[in-house]
């Protein structure tokens, strides 16, 4: 196999990787939004899971009054 053919296939591979990366970006796959909470017990797709998890509120959830006093 000549050097030209090797370069050709590397380039084709690069194009494919580019397409996959671009497509994934467009669909939001792999972004922090679509990643699960990292918790165990996923019950369905990411959206159902997140809807269930967001239904309950944390102990740390509080009213934010802005700056401290001093």
């Amino acid at each position: 196999m000549g050097i030209k053919k090797i370069i050709f296939w590397i380039v084709i591979l690069l194009i494919l990787l580019g397409v996959v990366y671009y497509g994934a970006n467009m669909l939001g796959i792999g972004s922090s939004d679509s990643q699960g909470s990292g918790q165990e017990g996923v019950v369905g797709d990411a959206e159902t899971n997140s809807l269930i998890e967001e239904s309950l509120i944390d102990d740390t959830d509080d009213v934010e009054l802005g700056e401290e006093l001093i």
Binding site: G41, S55, L56, I57, L65
Partner: protein, 332 residues
Amino acid sequence: MKKSLIIVVLIASLMFLSSFVFAQSNITDSANNETSSNESVDISNETEVDDDTEKEVEVMDISHGARMRALQLQFQIMRRVLWGEAVIERLGNKTNVTTTELEGIVEELRLLGDEAGRIYNNETANVTVQHFIDIKKDAKALVKEFRKKARLLLSEGDKNALRLKFSEIDRAELKELHGQISEQRRLLNAERARRVLAASGAENEDILRKIKDGEISKREALEQLKTEIKIMKDEEKDRLKEKLREEENKRRELKDKIVSEFKEKRLERASDRLADRAVELRKKGAEKAGNVLEKNSEALRKRAEKVAEKREAIRDALKVRTANTSGRGDSE
């Protein structure tokens, strides 16, 4: 072959570059959005509702959520009242330092704390939420004003000593309020869990009881809810997702409606609220003036004047807005 190879290499490089640029532009956009939202929080705009507040009011569609937010607001305000008193006490030991203005601000904050404690009666959800945002906005402005004035009078040593004192105050004085907030949070979570179970067609009173009684943490509650849902068929899970999505959309729509209603009449309400507070402060000042041991009646009287001045400024802004609106209406 060479030409086509160069073209292919160029296309591949462009695709890689564009995908990175695309990803990068998303990051930059979100960073810009954050910056602009931070800036908008800094601008003292009476009708603006910040992102934190918008998120906070989302749980107020349930009565326990509304009660919890009202109590949390009262807690945060009273915490600052107690901190403010500690600051004034420390400054009182210094010579050539006047704390009259700070005392007035603390008294006004105390009125807001009391108001937050009364926020949830039998009012409708919309009124409660607007009331919550009104009080929060006013309190934030007062905290900012106090901080600006106090920082000029306090040394680094004072600040460090005060911070230590603040942590003690938090633990002791506000314990009861903290307990009430935890109770409302548990009741809210139990109600939310009940809705998830109802949407999935499941029933499990045991989970709800455990959440209400605080026997299980949020994480454990979620695990138990998921166990109930895991055994469901795929179609049932899809229906559950639809229902949960609908509920979330309803919550967001209600929140958007309330926030936009809040903006519409904020200036009018701000003006009325300031008038009421000026009256309250004058009344408190007069009561304390009768008692020779009370030193801050003067502070209250001065604060009442300042509040009345602010009210006048808001009324002027309202007049300008009304004139502009009718001017636009006439030209149309």
